[in-house]
């Protein structure tokens, strides 16, 4: 049997396979490279970078929930400068496709970040995080303001020819409208979804389990919601979708592609099984063989409704 073609395109971005590592769940790649060969993975998305370094939220930052977890890391990151000098060299070496995720508190900050990073050859595309639920200034406010999402897309588009992916918030009732705006303003793709807003309290201390009070819910618990958001976008808007939310194995990944995703990202699973990405690639190959698929891109939006 011939090699199965696992490559997929996200706009002008060509990936050797649809497996991407989600922002904030693999840092800048070095720790997870002890478990997995990053050069084999479709792409790696960096932890959200902001213009200046961010300390992040005080502990406790995470807590487990049924089939999921809440996090409020608060976008702790090294900032653009340190990222360029200290993180990019490693990421270049590992020979994976690098997508740089950017978070900001103002439209100007998004633009400034892109301007600075644009010249970095190693960066093959930008994922713009307009949907982090754990920072007060930006985050949710942008993510649930359709005009802001449109403006950010437009302004960032004006600054770079690299592929632009807008990472959408699931915490609204009309995610496809956001995807429509992204398309209209020249975005190349959307990522769906970021985490859902959630909380948990200790019943004896009566305090929130997470210092930030609310956090972002991720993991298998949110998979049905993420799939529904991808489906909604796929049915209404003609734009490549990167599916995210609760993927733990190749079966979950196939489900996202059938529903409408051109590629997918894995997040929480990396914490539990840092080898999941390679296992998923193997699983995808076997599934394609079993079901006589020669090009994995044939799976995209192949749902039968």
């Amino acid at each position: 049997m011939n090699e199965i073609d696992l490559s997929v395109n996200i706009g002008s971005l060509k990936l050797k396979n649809p497996v991407m590592l989600a922002s904030g769940t693999v840092g800048y790649g070095n720790e997870i490279s002890e478990f997995t060969d990053l050069s084999k993975i479709g792409a790696i998305v960096t932890k959200s970078i902001s213009l200046k370094p961010r300390k992040g939220n005080p502990p406790q930052r995470i807590t487990e929930t049924p089939s999921g977890m809440l996090n409020a890391i608060g976008l702790a990151n090294v900032g653009v400068e340190e990222f360029i000098t200290h993180k990019i060299p490693f990421l270049k070496k590992i020979n994976s496709t690098l997508i740089c995720n950017i978070a900001a508190s103002s439209i100007e900050e998004y633009i400034e970040c892109v301007e600075i990073l644009e010249t970095q050859e190693t960066i093959k595309g930008f994922e713009i995080n307009v949907s982090c639920p754990n920072v007060k200034e930006g985050g949710l406010i942008f993510g649930n303001d359709i005009n802001a999402v449109g403006r950010i897309t437009e302004k960032v588009r004006a600054k770079t020819n690299k592929p632009i992916i807008i990472k959408l918030s699931p915490n609204n009732s009309n995610i496809s409208d956001y995807a429509e705006v992204v398309k209209k303003e020249g975005g190349d793709a959307v990522s769906a979804i970021n985490t859902l807003v959630g909380t948990a309290f200790d019943i004896y201390s009566r305090k929130p389990k997470i210092k930030n009070i609310t956090g972002g819910l991720s993991g298998p618990a949110i998979k049905p919601v993420a799939l529904a958001k991808v489906l909604e976008i796929s049915r209404k808007v003609d734009i490549p979708i990167i599916g995210i939310g609760g993927i733990f194995d190749w079966k979950d990944a196939v489900e996202f592609m059938i529903v409408g995703a051109s590629a997918f990202q894995i997040g929480t699973v990396n914490f539990v099984n840092p080898r999941a990405s390679l296992e998923i690639i193997e699983g995808l190959k076997k599934y394609c063989e079993e079901t006589s698929i020669t090009k994995i891109s044939d799976l995209i939006a192949s749902r039968i409704i």
Binding site: E31, Q60, I62, M69, N71, P220, F248, F271, V272, P274
Partner: protein, 251 residues
């Protein structure tokens, strides 16, 4: 880095709610260091979802022992594992206690299940005087697995000194040469806060093994921050720790 299922060799109760589980590992245990930990997946499904971190408590040939207290779902599942079943280990993780500096007396302070990492440390402390201070709520938590020269303290006075480990330490330090003594401590944060305060104006070295909720255990989730006194950004307990100089950290 090792990550795989390991077979349970034994799992025995050593005190109330406290167990010691031995796991056969297929790698050389020679390079394991006291203070390091493993992150353990207790089921092969999504309940509980995350791994649970446990310090290396002891190492005998190709067996690693973890001493654990049943506090919730994860530890309860582990306590039911019998010989021949498996647990998925990821590790070894973290830094370790530093035993190369010049001290002749090691004072080991364990609060409750915080005693867990010390049997392994004690094995590595050759040619040192060792004094173990083991504080607990009540006698039912007491055991002596892998320990030597134990002084107990208990909140309810049911064993040893009626008081806490800091009271024990106070007695102990009065008989010691501070410059030749090093303290190794592990326990709840309340204990560490008291210890930090007690040591403020003292010159004795003290390393503390800290706990935190953890998702990954190896530095990718940023879930386990710890503040340093003179550092604007957080350190990570799983990667930069779990062992810190108690003077450096904000507890």
């Amino acid at each position: 880095m090792f990550i795989d299922d390991c077979v349970v060799a034994s799992n025995t109760k050593i005190a109330e709610n406290t167990f010691l589980i031995g796991l056969e590992v297929p790698f050389s245990t020679e390079k394991l260091l006291p203070g390091q930990f493993f992150n353990i997946k207790v089921s092969n499904n999504s309940f509980p979802l995350l791994r649970r971190p446990f310090s290396i408590s002891d190492v005998i040939e190709n067996r690693i022992y973890f001493m654990y207290k049943v506090v919730g779902e994860g530890t309860s599942i582990i306590s039911k594992k019998v010989k021949g079943e498996t647990l998925n280990l990821l590790g070894p993780l973290g830094n370790s206690f530093n035993i190369d500096d010049s001290f002749s007396t090691a004072i080991i302070i364990g609060g409750g299940i915080g005693i867990a990492p010390f049997p392994f440390l004690i094995k590595k402390l050759v040619n040192k005087n060792i004094q173990v201070l083991f504080g607990m709520r009540s006698k039912s938590e007491a055991h002596n697995y892998g320990l030597v020269n134990i002084n107990y303290s208990s909140d309810d006075g049911s064993i040893g000194l009626h008081g806490n480990v800091i009271d024990l330490l106070d007695v102990e330090l009065k008989n010691s040469d501070e410059t030749k003594t090093k303290i190794f401590a592990c326990g709840p944060n309340a204990m560490f806060r008291a210890l930090q305060k007690y040591l403020t104006n003292k010159n004795v070295l003290c390393e503390a093994s800290m706990e935190s909720a953890m998702a990954c255990g190896f530095g990718i989730c940023q879930g386990c921050p710890i503040e340093f006194k003179n550092n604007p950004s957080y350190n990570l307990i799983c990667k930069d720790g779990p062992v810190f100089n108690i003077k450096d950290i904000v507890i």
